[in-house]
């Protein structure tokens, strides 16, 4: 019983983290595109003449487009460039999806852990049965062994088929699950370009030029992904603890007769 204390504590901790994380994500900052410019009237006039751009809102010394789509920032940049207006466009059209995703990462991590558990468990069971068969082969015929162990083997086969279906469903869900990242976050070539990520952060969250919403988004991103990292750590530790507990309670080589 004592070996299950750690898994139970980890399970409770994970559940508490997931609940607290979910509570934090109840009020997400809205997707928005902000334009900082020295010539707000010119920007307003340009945007009024551009199709597919809704009317902006003046907020905290900048024009703000709420509920933008994937290309609102590009449309704006094009209109501003064509109109010869200098402005900085801050694109937060990804905010809600990326934040909401942080609250769902634990499900993907759990699915990976369950799959790992199923693969290792299946491998162990196959090895155990092979060992049993080898042991039995020393003093009885295969047919006799199969007759004696038919109920056990059939039970394991049924459970194996059920768990196989669970594994297929999990893999399909993992393959179909969308991943959200800001479009410009990933570099073109190698992923290991710290300079690119620093530049992206500096352009997306420029120091001293951020709105209260931008600051709130940055703070929420940090906290949400910290929660996600802690949840991931707890789930991995929980899987390892459960695996350790199961292995200790399963029959060893000496128990096989």
């Amino acid at each position: 019983m004592r070996r299950w204390i750690l898994p139970i504590v980890l399970l409770l901790l994970t559940a508490a983290l997931v609940l607290a994380h979910g509570n934090r994500l109840e009020q997400l900052p809205k997707n928005r595109v902000e334009v900082l410019t020295e010539a707000p009237a010119a920007v307003e006039a340009l945007c009024a003449g551009t199709d597919a751009l809704p009317a902006p809102v003046w907020e905290e010394g900048r024009w703000v487009w709420e509920s933008p789509d994937l290309f609102t920032a590009q449309r704006l940049e094009t209109a501003l460039t064509n109109g010869g207006v200098e402005a900085v466009v801050l694109d937060y059209s990804w905010a809600e999806d990326v934040l909401r995703q942080s609250g769902q990462l634990w499900m993907a991590v759990s699915a990976f852990c369950v799959l790992g558990f199923l693969i290792l468990g299946g491998q162990n069971q196959a090895r155990l049965e092979a060992r049993r068969l080898r042991q039995a082969g020393k003093h009885q015929y295969l047919r006799e062994y199969l007759y004696d162990s038919s109920v056990l083997l059939l039970g394991k086969l049924i459970v194996g088929v059920f768990l196989g279906i669970v594994a297929v469903v999990l893999v399909r869900r993992l393959l179909a699950a969308p991943v959200y990242l800001p479009c410009s976050l990933l570099p073109q070539g190698s992923l290991f370009q710290p300079a690119h990520y620093q530049q992206w952060a500096a352009e997306t969250f420029p120091t001293g030029a951020m709105s209260p919403s931008g600051l709130q988004l940055l703070a929420m991103l940090k906290v949400s992904y910290l929660f996600a990292a802690l949840e991931t750590l707890c789930i991995v530790l929980l899987t390892a603890a459960v695996w350790h507990g199961v292995k200790r309670s399963s029959p060893g080589k000496s128990d096989i007769s």
């Binding site: 789509d69 290309f71 064509n82 109109g83 790992g116 479009c183 410009s184 073109q188």
Partner: protein
């Protein structure tokens, strides 16, 4: 020894599978989503032209101007590709450009979620509002 090799082989295969999954997801994330316009005749600077496109469709490089035309393929992994077509800009104003070198009806990439480079690139059509 045999057991250790078996375990290592298992771990390697699992790692390979997980890496393949993440590579596939990353490749999906790095596939540009594109917003396209149809080729159509129009007027630029008072003259009529067979193909007039928004200015942002035209990419400028040392080798000249080009556009990306979206085509369907029979590939399972890249059902949609954008092919670079060299064009000649005949006239342009502050919003549109008249181009020659495009023969037939094509969907031309106007905006893409990621920078596009190369002769042919796998893309996804953006299905959002106003697309």
């Amino acid at each position: 020894m045999k057991g250790v090799i078996g375990k290592l082989a298992w771990a390697f295969c699992l790692l390979l599978l997980i890496s393949a999954f993440f590579c596939w997801k990353l490749e999906d994330l790095r596939t540009p989503q594109v917003l396209c316009v149809d080729t159509k005749p129009g007027v630029v600077d008072g003259s009529g032209y067979a193909v007039v496109l928004p200015l942002e469709c035209v990419q400028w490089a040392d080798s000249g101007a080009s556009v990306y035309a979206v085509e369907e393929t029979s590939s399972y992994f890249s059902p949609l590709v954008a092919r670079q077509i060299p064009v000649t800009v005949q006239a342009q104003d502050s919003a549109n450009a008249a181009v020659s070198g495009i023969y037939g009806d094509f969907q031309i990439v106007r905006f893409s979620s990621r920078p596009m480079s190369g002769d042919m690139i796998s893309v996804q059509l953006w299905k959002g509002a106003g697309a």
